[in-house]
Symmetry: C2
Subunit: 113 residues, 2 copies
């Protein structure tokens, strides 16, 4: 979901573009939900958005207040284990990009009449 | 689609997180395809990825080699007109974030055995 109140930049985005193999979908969905819940408990977490096409291509973006917060999450033991299972089973390819959000614009239909 | 050969950072990403109203889907799809084709002709264009959930939430990310390339595309007349139609008809809300990609990692199943 789009966050209602995104923070004022600068902050960081981790853009995870990936293609699913289609293997172990139930197991994947459970782990993805666990990781999203766990990420929300991490220091510096700002938000999470994800979307997936029917053909298996997906984009997930997590938002963080600092490079340190990203590193801390990257090294969390449960997250490391989940990423390993992702590499071994769930993703045929992916790209992770770490980016610094420099500015943001928002439109909400309610605010524009 | 995930690009096979993403460029070496730094470069820029425009992250467009949006929710569809569901209105004029055929017209939307045609305009989106036209805009993607037009973007590819712009100086500094590096790539484009998009995904959408069945519930209407989507993420589209375009990649550019400079801030100037983003500004140039933003001010293109056809793109301006398409964005206005998006605000008026196709999106109930959206956030645009401009971010500088600082590093990237790639995994391809073929390369990891």
């Amino acid at each position: 979901m789009t966050r209602d109140h995104p923070p004022t930049p600068p902050y960081y985005a981790v853009i995870f573009s990936n293609t699913h193999t289609g293997a172990d979908e139930t197991d994947y969905a459970q782990t993805a939900a666990q990781m999203e819940a766990l990420a929300k408990t991490m220091p510096g977490y700002l938000g999470f958005e994800s979307a997936r096409n029917e053909d298996g291509f997906g984009i997930a973006v997590s938002y963080w207040d600092s490079e340190e917060a990203i590193a801390n999450w990257k090294h969390h033991a449960e997250h490391r284990e989940a990423r390993k299972r992702g590499r071994d089973h769930w993703y045929s390819d992916y790209i992770v990009r770490v980016a610094k959000v420099e500015r943001a614009y928002r439109m909400n239909a309610k605010s524009t009449g």
